[in-house]
Symmetry: C2
Amino acid sequence: MSSTITDTSTEDRILEAARNVFLRKGMMGTRMQEVADEAGINKALLHYYFRNKQQLFEEVFCVCGQHGMQGVWEELTQERPLFDNIRAFVAAFHVAIEREPLFPHFLLNELQRDPKHLLKLVDLGRGARERFFQQVMAAQQRGEIIPIDPRQLMVNIMAWCQFPHVASPIIKHVGGMDQKAFKEFIQERSTLVAELIIRSIRA
Amino acid sequence: MSSTITDTSTEDRILEAARNVFLRKGMMGTRMQEVADEAGINKALLHYYFRNKQQLFEEVFCVCGQHGMQGVWEELTQERPLFDNIRAFVAAFHVAIEREPLFPHFLLNELQRDPKHLLKLVDLGRGARERFFQQVMAAQQRGEIIPIDPRQLMVNIMAWCQFPHVASPIIKHVGGMDQKAFKEFIQERSTLVAELIIRSIRA
DNA sequence: GTCAGGTTTAACCAATTGGTTAATCTTGCA
DNA sequence: TGCAAGATTAACCAATTGGTTAAACCTGAC
């Protein structure tokens, strides 16, 4: 049966292992053997649970949800002043990335390789973004912020939140940071980013 | 001889083809066959000119320089007010990326995969960055800008310049842009970014 | 012409890898 | 106990791919 303790345990071990390896190596870089090893099982058993690599990939990243990124978007659309929404969003974003630091690089990479499969993940934030755009335009009309394409603002926020993780090897290298120093560097950003974003658009 | 017209032409065709394929697919994603095809030659001839894939890769990206990125760094260190240096740097950066839009994503990706080979490319800007850091700290002491870790400022600038290209599939998708609209979106940034960066740090 | 050198190619090789098969091992149950 | 069905494995297969080899093909010098 598919409800035995061992079953679910095995299937879960596979999903967990696959998620880790996929995040580290990307779809193209992962070897089914490595997933099997990390799950402590045979490679054939992998194909017994998931027909092939593509299906395993989609099961992990499309079916199983996007690992806590959706709560983050909602921070953008609370009934709060624009600046407070930005602060909350940036903070929540940093917490989410701290839980899954490899995710930004992974997602950007896979989307460049094959957009059609993972773009649905991106769409989950669409509603929140649209409401955020409206709030930005409203603040603009009230003269609270400078005139700016809301999409540019959105890209600016995302860039400052995600880029440091995507470029972490460069940053560590040129800044002479070890892992600990880098974490502090990122930690400092979680408040800095919001304040500088606000400074950049405040009228 | 290695100075015949045909020779150099063949070797150049290979280097050009390799550069294109590597930029599109990354080191791991490129197939030697595809490079050979794009160069219009046999796969064996590829190995006749370049012993193996790794050597071809390093020849293209380490030996042959970094394709115009070094002139950009110098814009950071001219004898100009800080804000003018930032404006010039951002503008030059956008021009450089426009010539080679795939380069940011490629570099970030390869560095995450195997830092040791390409980090020397990053080091070419070290001198310029250090002088820039000094100028930032000087402006800080004169009270022209707010207190900020110059490294954070540097990351902020790089993030806004590079991230849109790394995340181009997402941006096109959520913004409903085709290639032309995206180019306009980027074009708008080439002046917007510098002004917003300056707003974010101006005292 | 022809011969020697570098150039180009077709055919081949070995290793990797996604995926399959058939046999073996558990386990719950009649 | 013994059987049936799912779980697990070792061995295997076919396709891809980086790399090699030996032969063929210029082309310029004598």
